[in-house]
Every structure is written in C-alpha cells, then in structure tokens.
C-alpha cells in the first residue's frame, strides 16, 4: 500500500512538531551557559570583574568605581539573554553583590569590595551551571 505525499507529510509533521517543540524547550531552558558568553567588550562580565578587582587591589578607586559601573551595565545586558534559564535569586543576588561592591569602592574599603567581587564571581559561575 502506498501513502499519498500529503499523508506522509502530515505524519512527519505530527511527530516532528512535538519533537521540535521539546527540543526548543530544552534549548531555551539550558541556554544560559551559552548566552552568558560575551558578544563584545560591553557585556564581558568576567573581564570587568577581573579589571575592577585589579583596580581595587591597586587602590585605584576612580578606575575601580568606573569599572564597577561598567560591570553593572554588562551584567544588565547579559541578564536580558539569560533570564529564561537562570535562577531569579542568582540574578538578583549578583546584582546586589555588584551594587555593594560599588558601595565599598566609594568608601575605599578594599576588603569589603574584594569580598563582594568574590561573591559576584561565584554567582556568575553558577549562572548556566546545573551543579
């Protein structure tokens, strides 16, 4: 018995549609690990974290403050991409850690700023990770 082309196409669609949807959902749910990667200097969170840390260690407070603002901006850009696959708490805590680091930098408190930057680094590593 031969099936008409339309019938075959319908059957393929009946299977392909749910399989495709499930694949799309998995991709969306696990996309953070890929979407957190920088597309340029403006959204390179690890780079800004590293730069701010260096400035804080060298007690270059003006550069550190400028870097902290750039870091907050970079993370805001990344948040738009990873929001569907990351934990809300991680995003909010990371945002808070950056804001607190900025506060410590304003107060020229090296220990506090380094501690907050370390926490921000840990939270950043958790985004997109399933451990």
């Amino acid at each position: 018995m031969t099936l008409e082309a339309g019938t075959v196409l319908k059957r393929v669609l009946l299977v392909a549609l749910p399989v495709g949807l499930i694949a799309l959902f998995i991709a969306v749910m696990l996309s953070a690990a890929v979407l957190k990667l920088p597309t340029g200097a403006e959204d390179d969170v690890p780079e800004w974290l590293s730069r701010v840390e260096k400035h804080v260690m060298a007690e270059q407070w003006d550069d550190a403050l400028e870097g902290a603002k750039k870091l907050a901006d970079a993370f805001s850009r990344v948040t738009v991409r990873v929001q569907f696959s990351a934990q809300l708490h991680d995003i909010l805590h990371l945002r808070t850690a950056i804001a607190r680091a900025e506060g410590f930098i304003r107060a020229q408190d090296r220990a506090g700023a380094i501690a907050e930057l370390a926490e921000a680094q840990t939270l950043w590593d958790r985004i997109g990770s399933r451990h």
Binding site: P18, L21, I22, F25, I26, V28, M29, L30, T79, V80, Q83, F84, S85, A86, Q87, L88, H89, I91, R130
Partner: protein
C-alpha cells in the same frame, strides 16, 4: 529582567510540554483512571505549575521531574500491558462484592468498602432494592458494575421476537454552516443531494445550518441557527439575572 516575560515563556514551556506528555500517556477517560493514575496526573500538573511560577529555581529541574514522572507512567503502562501479573499487582483486580445475590463481607472488609458505599453505588446504578442484584463487581477504577437477576432485567425486542433494523452511527454532514465533503463522499452522496434535502426542510442556504446529521436509515436531521421555538420551556425557578 522582566518577571512577567519570564513567567509567560515558562508558562508556554509548561503548557505545551504537558499537552505533549498527556497525549503520550494515552486516551484514558477520567472515569477510567485508577487511583494511581489520578495521583500521577496531579503530581505532573503541580510540577508544571511550579515550572511556570517558581522563579526561585531554574525551569530545567522542574521540567526534568515532569519528564521523569511521565516516563515512569509510560513504563508502568508498558509493563502492565506486557505482563499480566504486574498488571494485577499494580492496578489491582475487580472484586465481586455481591455473588449470586449474597454480599461478600470478607472481600468488602479487605477493600475497606462499607455496606453504605455499596448501597450508594447501587443507587447510582438505579438499583434501590439490593434483592434485585445477582452480581455486583467493584472495578479497579472504583465504579460498580451490576448484573440484575433475570426477573428484574428489562424486556428486550429480542425477548419479544420483534424484528429490528440495523442502527449505526450517524454521519455529520454540516457543522457551523460548513459542509463536510469528505463525510458526504464516505456515504456516497454529493452536494446537490444535500442541497435538495435541505430545501425539502425549508433551508435555502447551508450556512444557516448549525448541525446536519445523516442516520443509517437515510434520515437527515437538520438544526438551523434560527430555532423558531414558539413556546420555549423555562427550567429556571426564579426570574434570574438575565
């Protein structure tokens, strides 16, 4: 980050995943569900709800949980289909609670099934006198199947030797004004025949028809949008809000 947008995207993921998984789990009617199927449904549903609105955790673990429960449900279905012993062990067996007109107290005690439960389920089956029952079987989904004693069973045409005619399933030819050519072809008829039949019933345009069904005796039932009921029956017991 927009919580509204995230919840909407996660709702779409949960909704369509649930739709696909429930289709995979089969076509069992709600009334045919065993107690375990019922719990399975509730658990899967609550995981889909958490996937949608619990933003404190990633969507992924909820989705994996949903998938694992569905897979376990499918595995159970497969095992019970292939292995009769497992089927009896997992789904249980129908239990005879009335045999030859006698109540099986021992079987009822094992099921923790009370006499009042039996009487209630008999009443649901329109049996108000337990003396009319020959057999009553409590099915695995909790419903009661009842066989009345022969003297209390209704007389059929067969008992009276009255000749009967074949009666099958009607075929829908029009729904919401749309003619189903595929169904017309199936009963070896065409549009000119249908239009002529509609004209006989005073219908000029098929788009005025809400439903037209052809029965196996060749009679066409037609219901139009305009019903023209002269004295409608009101079942309400107060004027109502409308």
């Amino acid at each position: 980050m927009s919580e509204t947008l995230v919840v909407m995207v996660r709702a779409m993921i949960g909704f369509f995943t649930l739709l696909i998984y429930t289709r995979m789990l089969g076509k069992q009617q709600l009334s045919q569900l065993t107690y375990f199927d019922y719990i399975l449904g509730i658990t899967i549903g609550s995981m889909a709800a958490a996937l949608t609105t619990d933003l404190s955790s990633m969507a992924w673990p909820h989705w994996v949980g949903l998938t694992a429960w569905t897979a376990a449900g499918l595995a159970m279905q497969w095992v019970t289909l292939k292995w009769r012993f497992a089927s009896k062990y997992i789904d249980g067996e129908p239990t005879v609670v009335i045999m030859n007109g006698k109540i099986m107290e021992g079987a009822m005690r094992k099921l923790r099934y009370r006499a009042s439960d039996l009487m209630e389920q008999l009443r649901v089956k329109d049996v108000f006198d337990i003396g009319e029952v020959e057999f009553a079987i409590l099915e695995t989904n909790g419903t009661l199947s009842v066989l009345k004693k022969t003297q209390f069973q209704p007389v059929t045409r067969g008992d009276m030797s009255i000749p009967t005619h074949y009666q099958g399933i009607g075929t829908e030819l029009i729904y919401s004004g749309v003619i189903f050519d595929q169904n017309l072809k199936q009963v070896h008829l065409d549009r000119p025949w249908l239009e002529a039949e509609l004209r006989k019933q005073g219908v000029v345009d098929s788009s005025d028809v809400f439903l037209a069904v052809l029965d196996t005796s060749g009679n066409l039932y037609v219901d139009t949008y305009r019903d023209r009921v002269e004295s409608p029956v009101d079942t309400g017991d107060f004027p109502g809000p409308y």
